[in-house]
Amino acid sequence: MTIAPICPTPIMQHETVQMAHGAGGRLSQALMHRVFMPHLHNSFLDLLDDQAKLDLPSRRIAFTTDTYVVSPIFFPGSNIGELAVNGTVNDLAVGGATPLYLSAGFVLEEGLSLAELEAVVISMAEAARKAGVMIVTGDTKVVGKGQCDKLFINTAGIGIIREGVNLSCRNMKAGDSIILSGTVGDHGMAIMTSREGLSFQSRITSDCAALNGMISTILDEVPFAIHAMRDPTRGGVAATLNELASSSSIGIEIHESTIPVKSDVRGACELLGIDPLHVANEGKLVVAVAAGDAEKVLEVMRRFDPGRDAVIIGSVVDDHPGMVVMRTVYGSQRIIDLPLGEQLPRIC
C-alpha cells in the first residue's frame, strides 16, 4: 500500500542524488517522501520523529549493528538493501533473539541514480516484511562524488531474547555434532564472478536470506539442543568453526566428503584457487548440537529454504583444542585455518 504519490518512473530513472538531498532542506524531504517513505512506512516511521519510541515485551534484549559496503550494490540473487536487513536480522537470531526493530542509516554518493536507490529501498522493505521486522528509524547523508562507492548502509537491530535461551559459543561440548545448513561459498562467489575484470559468466547467486524463522522453529521444537550457533559470513565456514573452537577451547573435526558445495561455486573456486570454506555466506547457519538431537534439528532445518541442504559435517572433539581439523577423503588430516587477509574485496 502506498500513502504518498510516486513520481512517474521515467523521471525517477533520470534523476540522481544531489548534495542538496542531504542538506536537510526541501530536497531532503522530497527524497524521503519519494524514495523512502512509500516503501518503508509504518506507525513508527510515519511520525517522522528523530527517534523511535519502543515498548519491548521483555527486559532481555539483543542489540547489534553492521555496516554494508558491498560492491557492486546489485549482485546476482540479491542487493545491498536485502543484505543489510537480513544480515542484521541474522546477527540477532543466532544469539537466540527474536528480531523486532531495525534502524537504517544511508550514506549516498552524489550522482547515485534514484531509481537504483529506490530499488534498494524496495528490497529492504520486502526483506523486512519477510523477516517480520520493522525499520523504525533512519538517517540519510550525502557525500561528494568519489567519497563513497554509490551507497553504504548501516543497520542496527533490537530483538528480545527468548525465554530460557542462553546461547554462547563457549557452550560446546566434546561429542556435539556440527551441522551446516547448506552449500558453502554462494554469496562470496556471486560477488566475485559479478565483478569487473573477471570475464567468466556463471549462474551463481547469493544465498542472502533471513534465518530467524528457521532458528526460532529449531528453538521451539528441539529446546536446549543447540549448544552454539553462528552464521558463517565473512571468512566463511572456516572462520566460523575456528571462532567456535577457540572460544570453547575445544577441537572440531570435519569431514571433507560431507561439505556441500554447488558445482558452479566449486568450479569458480577451482579456477581461482580459492577454498570454498573461506568464502562468505549470507544465509547459512553453523550449529553445534548434542549428538542425540542432531537428526531432529536436521529435520527441522530441512523444512526451510535456507536449510534444505543441511548436513552434519563433523563433531566436537577433545583433541587439538582451539583447532579445526579436516579429515580428507584420503584419510589424511589437515588444519582448517582462518583465511589470511582479503580474499574478495567488499563482499558485504
Binding site: 575484470g197 556441500p260 558445495v261 566449486r266 584420503y330 589424511s332 589437515r334 589470511l340 587477509g341
Partner: protein, 367 residues
C-alpha cells in the same frame, strides 16, 4: 551432494588414490628422497595430506618452483618504488602484493595512495593501459616458463598496437638451471624429481633428458591432483628401485615431449636467456629471462630508473635451504615463531605455493 566435476574428480578419486598408495608401499623397498619441483604440487601434497600417507621410506622434499618465493628482494623493492609513483598503475598477480620488501609490501603502497591492482592475466594489464592512456601501466612479470608465454604475449601485443604506456618489471626464471644447481650442490639429497607439470606443458620434457643422464636421476613430469601426484611418485619409485635414470611422462593429458611450440616461439621472440638472482639461493647463471634489446622500451626497470635499487635478506630466514630441499619448513628455528603468514620473514611463508606457508596452514604436526 558433490556432483562429479569432469577433469577434476577422476583425479581425486579416493579409491584410486588408495590403490596407488598400496602400490607405492609395495614398490618402495629402499629409502628415497624425491623432490617435487613446483610449489603448486607442494601445496596439493600438503593440503591433501599425501605426505602423511606415504611409507616412511619415502621422503618428499619441496622444490624451488614457487614464483613468488624466488623473486629476489631487490625486484620487490623495485616494484614498490615503481608502484608508489603518481603516474603509475601497478598491476600484479595477487600473491605478490603481500610479499614484504625491507619495510613494506604492495598492499601498504596501495593504502598510501598508490594505484596497485590485482589482475588475473598480463593481457588484463594491457587492457588497463589501453583504457588509461594518460597513465603508465606496469605489470610485474614474475614466474617460470608457465607465465613466460602470456607475459611475452602482452609485450608483443603492446608492440603491435603501439601501446607505449605499458611496461613490464621482469623477474622471469627457468626450472632446468635450478635443477642443475640443486643437483650440483655438495650436500644435495635429491634422488629423483617430480617435474613441474605446467612448466612441461609449455617447454615439453626433452630438455630434462640431458639432466637425467648427466646426474643419473629419474625425472617424472607430474600433474597436480592427488591421483596424478601419487602416480608420479609411484613411477619415480619404480625408476629408482630399478636404477633407471630416465624421463618418463606421467602427465600425458597435458604434457608432450616437445611441449607447446607456439608458446616457446613467443617466449623466444620477446625474451632472451640471462643470469638471474633467485631469492634465498643467489645468482644462477643463465637461469632467467630478460627482454630482448628490441623490446627494451617496455622494460620498467630502465623506464623508471630503478636498476640501482638493491636489498638484503633477513638473516633469520632460511628459505634458500627450504627451496633447495635441504631443510623442511618446520626445521627452521624461526618457523611459526618469528616467521608466520602474518609476519613473514621470507617469501616461502607468503605465497600459497610456498612450502613454509603450506606447512603452516595445513600441517597438523608442525604446530
Amino acid at each position: 551432494m558433490l556432483r562429479p566435476m569432469k577433469y577434476i574428480d577422476e583425479y581425486r578419486d579416493p579409491e584410486l588414490a588408495r590403490k596407488l598408495l598400496e602400490e607405492i608401499r609395495k614398490k618402495a623397498l629402499h629409502h628415497w628422497t624425491i623432490m617435487e619441483i613446483c610449489g603448486g604440487q607442494t601445496h596439493s601434497i600438503i593440503r591433501n595430506g599425501i605426505d602423511q600417507l606415504l611409507p616412511d621410506t619415502l621422503e618428499l622434499v619441496h622444490g624451488p618452483g614457487c614464483p613468488v618465493c624466488v623473486t629476489p628482494l631487490e625486484s620487490i623493492e623495485r616494484a614498490l618504488a615503481i608502484a608508489a609513483r603518481e603516474e603509475v598503475i601497478f598491476t600484479s598477480f595477487g600473491d605478490m602484493l603481500r610479499v614484504p620488501g625491507n619495510a613494506r609490501d604492495l598492499f601498504m603502497v596501495r593504502s598510501a595512495g598508490g594505484d596497485v591492482r590485482i589482475v588475473f592475466s598480463p593481457l588484463d594489464a594491457l587492457q588497463i593501459a589501453r583504457d588509461n592512456p594518460s597513465k603508465e601501466v606496469v605489470f610485474f612479470a614474475v614466474g617460470f616458463e608457465t607465465t613466460a608465454p602470456a607475459n611475452a604475449m602482452a609485450v608483443w601485443q603492446a608492440v603491435r598496437e603501439g601501446i607505449n604506456n605499458f611496461s613490464v618489471l621482469v623477474s622471469q626464471v627457468m626450472v632446468p638451471p635450478a635443477m642443475r644447481a640443486i643437483l650440483s650442490s655438495p650436500d644435495n639429497r635429491v634422488q629423483g624429481f617430480l617435474a613441474a607439470g605446467h612448466v612441461c606443458a609449455v617447454m615439453g620434457y626433452e630438455e630434462y633428458e640431458p639432466i637425467s643422464r648427466e646426474f643419473q636421476v629419474p625425472i617424472v613430469p607430474t600433474g597436480f591432483e592427488p591421483v596424478e601426484l601419487l602416480a608420479g611418485i609411484l613411477k619415480t619409485v619404480e625408476l629408482l628401485e630399478e636404477g633407471r635414470a630416465e624421463v618418463v611422462n606421467c602427465y600425458g593429458r597435458v604434457v608432450s615431449r616437445a611441449g607447446n611450440p607456439i608458446a616457446q616461439e613467443t617466449i623466444q621472440k620477446v625474451f632472451e636467456v640471462i643470469d638471474r638472482p633467485w631469492r634465498g639461493i643467489g645468482l644462477i647463471p643463465r637461469s632467467g629471462l630478460g627482454l630482448r634489446e628490441a623490446f627494451a622500451r617496455f622494460d620498467a626497470e630502465t623506464k623508471f630508473k630503478v636498476t640501482n635499487i638493491f636489498a638484503e635478506e633477513s638473516s633469520l630466514c632460511m628459505s634458500g635451504s627450504v627451496l633447495q630441499g635441504k631443510l623442511k619448513p618446520d626445521g627452521c628455528p624461526a618457523f611459526a615463531k618469528e616467521c608466520t603468514p602474518q609476519h613473514p620473514l621470507g617469501a616461502t611463508m607468503v605465497s600459497s605455493e610456498g612450502a613454509c606457508a603450506a606447512y603452516y596452514q595445513y600441517h597438523l604436526n608442525t604446530l
